[in-house]
């Protein structure tokens, strides 16, 4: 079974130190770092924003350049004399027109396309008077049956004239024609040489995938989108290049405008706009930086905490040792201490304790010698009235020739006195019980059996091994006899021994006149408070005498306690220990 490591105590000094450190150092540092990080983060975001804006404006400019070059191709074609002749209907025959186309116009178209890889296709429409019809289409689109766009584009008046065509909705100019890339289709109006009427229209198709790929947009670039006439076209960047996807459904487009932070850049004179979804969380996070710094500060904080805690713990344990030390017998603090200032304090304390102990030993030795004299004096006290009455009682029995009784009394008295004048420091509990039995027998002789007594020993109790003060019980019996006998009622005295693990309780009860409760309480308080002083020990009051000697013998935790009997008598409870205290 695992034993739980006891939790380390929460030390006030450590707590105070940590609170002090937290409020005076850590918290201001974190506030400063948080504020500084927020500033840095904002600055970084601004820089990223400007970088993205710059990138977007450069990209938009490049895309615009590609679109402008398409327009330039168309403008160049309008300066081709053969083309203008054809649009103006100058050639007399179809074969002349055809040969002009084959020899001059077609090479010019081909050259334009070869020189502009992004130019996906080019178509020229010839106007006949005011409108376009099948037969009026230029040879570039001889078999086109219809103008594949909204006829409004034929006379596009507002510049720029352009539209985006995606694979999802291709221009089906030819049978089964499909688109594999999005196109930006722009229209250039062609006027006759006198600028009196529009004679044609040039359609140029910019391959948007190719144009976007040539912009060199990095693959790791965030979401880039193209907005054209309110529709959003995502630009997908892959390892193989850029791709303009089909327009987003209106619901998704609304989400873009609502949920994203966009940097929008117009593409030249077109109605296109490039939009970059700027991530506001880009750059260093102030929270992240603060947390990082807080974690960095936490390490020295923990080290400081550990250091202070260790110091405080040593102080605390030292303090506990001092608190637990009995003032009357201080002990040295033996826990090994490092060689520091606290170690010096402990060392000085130990020196002081050693000195104090030596001094205390000397004082005790002197007191012990003094107590021993007092002790002998107290224990040898025998009431002279008892002696005179007993001897008178023996004389009277001799006069009436009751020699046997007188002989037994004399023998008992002799044994009693022999024990009483032995003047020992201590005795055994068994000897004390025998002594009081002799004392009570003598009293029975004297009082003509008006006294009954019983001494109850527990079975197999090693009473002869229990050390106790000499003549400890006799004063208590004497007290019973003095105050207990009243009227003609016999006095019954019961002495019983109750052993326990550490102590012995001797209970002496009588059925005498007893004491009032307030007297008992006052007496108990007096007995409890009584210090084992010389003055108390010399008191002629028997109870106080015995109580003082017991405390001397066993320690301050032992002594007498009075209780009232139910039948009016008094019980004296004597608590003694197993062995004598060091004080004796």
């Amino acid at each position: 079974m695992r034993t739980r490591t006891p939790r380390p105590p929460i030390l006030k000094m450590t707590t105070q130190f940590m609170l002090l450190y937290g409020f005076l150092a850590l918290l201001p540092a974190l506030v400063f770092i948080g504020s500084y990080s927020a500033q840095v983060s904002n600055r970084q975001r601004q820089e990223i924003w400007y970088q993205e804006k710059l990138f977007l404006s450069q990209t938009a400019a490049s895309l615009n350049q590609a679109i402008v070059s398409m327009g330039a191709v168309a403008d160049t074609l309008t300066m081709n004399s053969a083309l203008m002749d054809m649009l103006e209907g100058v050639y007399p025959t179809a074969s002349d027109e055809l040969m002009a186309y084959i020899r001059v116009i077609q090479p010019a178209l081909t050259q334009s396309q070869a020189a502009n890889p992004g130019l996906r296709g080019m178509y020229i429409y010839r106007f006949n008077e005011t409108f376009l019809s099948d037969s009026d289409l230029l040879f570039a689109t001889p078999m086109v049956s219809i103008f594949p766009y909204d006829p409004a584009w034929l006379l596009c008046s507002g510049e720029p004239c352009g539209m985006i065509v995606t694979p999802a909705d291709p221009v089906r100019r030819l049978y089964g024609e499909t688109l594999d890339t999005a196109l930006y289709v722009s229209f250039t109006r062609v006027f006759d040489r006198s600028f009196s009427q529009q004679v044609g229209l040039i359609e140029t198709q910019l391959d948007m995938d190719r144009a976007l790929t040539e912009l060199g947009i990095p693959q790791d670039r965030g979401a880039l989108e193209l907005r054209f006439e309110g529709r959003w076209y995502p630009i997908r960047i892959t390892a193989r290049g850029a791709h303009l996807d089909d327009p987003l459904p209106d619901s998704e487009a609304a989400t873009i405008e609502k949920d994203r932070t966009l940097i929008i850049e117009p593409v030249g004179l077109t109605r296109m706009e490039l939009a970059y979804a700027f991530d506001p969380s880009l750059g260093q996070s102030a929270v992240g930086a603060t947390v990082s710094m807080a974690l960095l500060l936490l390490l020295p904080t923990l080290l400081a905490y550990w250091f202070v805690y260790r110091l405080a713990l040593r102080l605390s344990r030292f303090g506990q040792h001092i608190q637990q030390t009995d003032a009357s017998s201080p002990t040295a603090y033996e826990k090994k201490q490092p060689d520091d200032e606290l170690g010096d304090v402990v060392s000085a304390y130990n020196t002081l304790v050693l000195f104090h102990k030596e001094l205390l030993d000397q004082v005790r030795s002197a007191e012990r010698m003094k107590n021993a004299a007092t002790y002998y004096a107290m224990s040898s006290q025998v009431n002279p009235h008892f002696m005179f009455n007993t001897l008178e009682n023996i004389r009277m029995r001799i006069e009436v020739e009751r020699y046997d009784d007188a002989s037994r009394m004399l023998q008992t008295l002799a044994r009693f006195l022999r024990y009483n004048i032995s003047l020992r420091q201590d005795s055994s509990l068994e000897e004390e019980l025998c002594h009081i039995e002799r004392y009570l027998v003598i009293y029975q002789y004297r009082m003509h059996s008006r006294i009954e007594y019983s001494v109850n020993r527990p079975d197999d109790a090693p009473l002869n091994k229990v050390r106790c003060p000499f003549c400890m019980l006799q004063p208590l019996l004497e007290n019973c006899l003095r105050h207990g006998i009243r009227d003609e009622k016999p006095l019954i005295i019961t002495v019983s021994i109750e052993p326990s693990d550490d102590d012995w309780l001797i209970v002496i009860a009588d059925n005498g006149s007893g004491m009032r409760p307030d007297e008992i309480e006052s007496m108990n308080e007096s007995l409890q408070a009584a210090a084992p002083t010389e003055q108390a020990a010399q008191a002629q009051v028997g109870l106080s005498n015995v109580n003082a000697r017991i405390k001397y013998f066993y320690g301050s935790g032992y002594g007498l306690r009075l209780e009232s009997n139910g039948d009016g008598g008094l019980t004296v409870r004597v608590l003694i220990g197993w062995k004598a205290a060091d004080a004796v």
Binding site: I102, A114, P117
Partner: protein, 502 residues
Amino acid sequence: MIGFTRRMLSITAAIFVALSCARAAAAETVFTCFINHTWYPVSSFTGIIPEEITRLTGVRLDVTIAKDQRQLNMMLASNALPDLIFTGSQFDALSDPAVCLDYDTLIERAGLDWDIAEDLRSNALIFSGDGKLYTIINYYTRTQDWADTRSVPMTASLMARQDILDAMGNPPLNTTDDLMDVYLRVRREYPDIIPLMFESTHRFNAFRAYFGLGLTEFTRQPDGRYLFFARDPRYKEMLAWLNRLYREGCIPPENFAASTRQESVPYKQGRAFSYSACTQNANLSLDNAIKQIDPSYHSVELPPLQDANYTMSSLGWSGTFIPLNNRDPETAITFIQWMFTSQAQRLTQWGREGVDYTLNDEQLPVYSAALMASLQDDSYNQMYNPWFHFGSSAVLESEGRCALLPFEDYADAYDQIRRACINKPWIIAAAPKTGDPEKRSYDRILAAVNEQETYILVSESVEAFEARWESYQDSLLLMDVEGLELHINEAIPELKSRYAAP
């Protein structure tokens, strides 16, 4: 424990596979590639077959299709060449150590084991000034290579609306006069229908065959000499015949200005009766297209007229050159070698075996339903893109395309065309090369042919036709066509004997 070990092994294997894939993706080589064919039907290296090629070779192509025939010349002049050039012309200009890397050196550098067939090597070496091999021309076949096939070489063929012919009572079509009558009847009876249109690559070739001229640049005369074809009387006869159709309103002038993407549109829209194009699957897309308009419409390839002359002179179709500035020549030559393998030839022409086709008992492809459906909705080129057959064989391609056709509709026409097709490679092999004094006049004469014959064809009258013809003949003389013919007549005997040798 076993379960844990198995899981760990699975995770390790998955990581290994992922790393392998990542490494493969990272190792992908992208070559810029110029395709010198203006008519190319696709403009990017995308689709199922190119993706499979990339998966198997690690090579991806960034393709540019020629805008016109002069673009490659401009690139050569400005030395702005891509990593690879796939071309059917300019072999001699590109077979130059100052322009391209030679194959044999690269094969040695790359440590390849590639035994190039001798006839392919000698065909390419004809254009090499220093005797080194700068390309391999694909699609070279001898006449006898077609003997045991049911398909035909890629050559001229005339499409027509069978439903209109049926409505006209299927008039006989044995001679050019029969054909003229039919066109004139269509003009009269179907005024909204254009009787005849031309595809820009094969243009008048079907009629050159019908008028006995053949499809070679130089035609053999009764005296055994060779003349430039534009000086052959049969050529004038053909142009006069076409001029009459033009003057009768059977040929629209816009046809000659149309781009390759536009020229087939009227026929696909059901607005034309006949379309001069080529064999193999050209008619398939046309027929599918008009059936979308009206299921009763039906386009067929007409059997050749009587005595049609399908003599051709071909050393193959196109070759791949590796310019000096190629970024990874060893990978390029390894890629080209792979393109000549049987696996690549089948993949590039037929698709993925087991997925897009399976082989029947005759080892001919039987295509998947998905592939056939893509033909029906005209998404075949976009979805599969079988146009990067840099090392393919003409017979394999032709057989594959025949497998796409409802062959019973084509069997008679193809049988007749196949029997009429004769390849005489020595004629084209005799053409002047870079360094020959006749080379300049040869190039000028060829460059002027299309423009001049169009100009003559769209003459408004017989007199104008005659005047323009004479003018053209004079211009040919001014361009020293006689010197060119002299060169040809001197070179052919030696070359003919070389090809005739076993």
